[in-house]
């Protein structure tokens, strides 16, 4: 088969090389198309990864529920009444709602997001203080660096122990490798450090986690006078029921118990990670489609451009083809020559476009790494890059089909008569 003939490849390369300017112009469309497609894919992946990463502090089947204030008068109560969750709510939910895998009530000193001064010897700084159940390990990913996490015994005996985040350990216990067994002071009360934990992710969420200290939930309620109040509930669900169904079941029970109008949507706040994650996934699917569509069309335009220019140059080259035919070129050798030219042009152009795009993505990565605000690291999957290169090469052959047909139909008599 002449398509694999070394001599023909040589002839194709010589022809292209001798007509370098024409070849480069023809290739530009493909270079641009591939460049756009790969760069867009790279940035799309980067954005997706950064969002997924910022989500990864949360287990994706988790639901968070907290009390707010009522907005509708109900059952003899006026609106604006605060809803406060309690230990009894937790038991009620655990006993009556199906599909719950883990449930862990949480409290944060002075409320969600606030910080409290913590002291070790002459150093003090402010960190989040959180009352925690052992179950939290299953709801939020964490990495134990030293010692252990809170256990059932700590809860039962309301021990004055604390697990501290890595940053807390670094900042308060300077020059101390392992702070377990040492005591620190929170709001005038001393706690023994039993462990240090780190976050597996370097995200916002993880950042909060390593700047927090965790004490047993029961201890928290007792020493800070929270009685039986619960800040919020962290729940993970198994896959028997949808997260939305479980969320609404929990809310129904809570509304009934706290005498809230069933249609009052403001009284109980919630965050459903599964739902949010699902929406994100839809968004990504949309973005992917858009990128492939726009990039693919750009590439297609490039390929059509190659075909078009080749077709025009075939008209110019009628004489050359006529000469080749008179000198003994068979129709197939002409056709395969044109197909190969188009194939070589598109694949080399595609390769250049790919290299340029990867270079741009690498450059962007370096720039983004130096700026702390963004964690977008544009990336392109090797497989996708190779796949697109294969598609381009194939498209190159397709782009040559029309010009090749035109060249095969050249009548040497007419071509050579044209003076």
């Amino acid at each position: 088969m002449i398509f694999f003939d070394k001599e023909q490849w040589h002839e194709v390369f010589v022809t292209l090389n001798k007509n370098r300017f024409r070849a480069i112009l023809t290739a530009c469309g493909i270079v641009w198309g591939v460049f756009m497609l790969i760069v867009m894919l790279g940035f799309g992946n980067g954005v997706e990864r950064s969002i997924v990463q910022s989500m990864s502090g949360t287990v994706t089947n988790s639901i968070y529920i907290w009390g707010e204030t009522t907005s509708i008068p109900y059952d003899g109560l006026s609106s604006g009444k605060p809803v406060t969750l309690t230990n009894d709510d937790v038991e009620l939910i655990a006993a009556n709602v199906h599909g719950i895998e883990h449930i862990a009530p949480r409290n944060q000193l002075s409320g969600y997001g606030s910080e409290t001064w913590i002291r070790y010897k002459d150093r003090s700084r402010s960190y989040s203080v959180i009352g925690e159940f052992p179950q939290m390990q299953h709801i939020q990913p964490m990495k134990q660096v030293n010692g252990r996490f809170i256990n059932e015994l700590d809860i039962e005996e309301s021990r004055k122990v604390v697990v501290i985040g890595r940053r807390v350990a670094d900042e308060l216990f300077v020059d101390i490798d392992d702070p377990t067994g040492l005591a620190l002071e929170i709001d005038g009360i001393y706690f023994y450090v039993i462990g240090v934990l780190d976050s597996p992710e370097g995200t916002n969420h993880g950042d909060r986690q390593i700047s927090s200290v965790f004490i047993p939930f029961t201890t928290f309620q007792r020493v800070f006078n929270y009685e039986n109040r619960v800040g919020w509930l962290a729940i993970t669900v198994d896959d028997t029921l949808s997260a939305e169904t479980i969320e609404s079941n929990i809310k129904r029970i809570l509304k009934k118990r706290h005498r809230v109008n069933p249609i009052d949507n403001q009284a109980i706040g919630s965050f459903n990670a599964a739902e949010a994650f699902g929406e994100l996934k839809d968004l990504f699917t949309g973005i992917h489609f858009l990128i492939w569509f726009v990039g693919g069309c750009t590439l297609l335009a490039g390929i059509i451009g190659v075909g078009n220019i080749m077709l025009i140059t075939m008209k110019e080259r009628t004489r050359e083809i006529g000469i080749r035919k008179a000198l003994g070129a068979t129709p197939w050798s002409i056709v395969s020559h044109v197909l190969q030219e188009s194939f070589v042009l598109t694949s080399i152009a595609g390769y250049i476009g790919l290299l340029l795009a990867i270079g741009t993505l690498e450059l962007a990565t370096v720039i983004f790494k130096h700026s702390t605000e963004t964690q977008i690291i544009p990336q392109i999957d090797f497989g996708i890059a190779m796949l697109s290169l294969c598609v381009i090469s194939l498209a190159g052959i397709l782009a040559g089909v029309l010009p090749a047909r035109a060249s095969a139909q050249v009548n040497p008599v007419i071509a050579l008569a044209a003076n």
Partner: protein, 226 residues
């Protein structure tokens, strides 16, 4: 070598029916040097295209080297051209972006000769016509006479049995014309059949046999007296 029997060829368009060759019969033996004379429109170029299997004919029979040439696929025609026929054209028809050596090597490429071998054969062929120093020059860097000699070197490189020359001196001055005809005569002495289409009397006089064509018919066929 060449045997034409009652060849008819017409070009039909929507408005005209041009009967170019009318019952034309002609025999050319191996080793002859023949000129086909005629004014433009006489059908001599069409005849040459049929001889070169570049064009088809409507009726009659054309035997080339004992084989009937009719209804050939383009592929087979290409192989026949490649093996037996060398072309020389009025406008040289060299490929502009290829050097003299590359142009000469091109017919060998279509015969499947390897790059090294065909390059060497091309240089040998060029050397014979005193063009070795011009091997790496492009056609645009050479004179008309040189270009035509490159074209002849190209036609001969495959060692064809027949050379078909269409107005080979049409674009040349008289000095170069005589030079080219001398070259063609020399080739003929080696036993290669040479057919030259021309409308110039002094060119025809330098061949051995002159066939005059008018309105698609042979009006005279005689040996050239020296």
């Amino acid at each position: 070598m060449i045997e034409l029997q009652r060849i008819n060829k017409s070009y039909n368009t929507e408005t005209t029916n041009l009967h170019v060759l009318k019952d034309l019969s002609l025999t050319i033996a191996a080793g002859e040097m023949v000129s086909l004379m005629g004014s433009s429109g006489s059908g001599k170029s069409t005849l040459l295209n049929i001889l070169g299997i570049l064009d088809s004919y409507d009726s009659g029979e054309y035997h080339l080297d004992g084989r009937l040439i009719r209804d050939m696929s383009e592929h087979t025609a290409a192989l026949y051209r490649s093996k037996t026929i060398g072309f020389v054209f009025q406008s040289f028809n060299l490929i502009g972006f290829k050097t003299a050596a590359e142009n000469v090597a091109l017919p060998l490429y279509y015969q499947g000769v390897s790059f090294k071998k065909r390059h060497k054969m091309a240089l040998d062929s060029l050397e014979r016509f005193g063009l070795l120093d011009w091997a790496e020059h492009l056609p645009s860097q050479m004179s008309g006479g040189q270009n035509q000699r490159v074209a002849i070197a190209r036609a001969l490189v495959t060692k064809p049995r027949i050379i078909l020359a269409d107005e080979p001196t049409g674009a040349l001055d008289s000095e170069n014309s005589n030079d080219i005809i001398a070259v063609l005569n020399e080739i003929n002495k080696e036993g290669i059949t040479v057919v030259i289409v021309t409308h110039e009397e002094d060119i025809a006089e330098q061949t051995k046999r002159c066939v005059r064509i008018q309105d698609g018919k042979i009006i005279s066929d005689s040996a050239v007296s020296k």
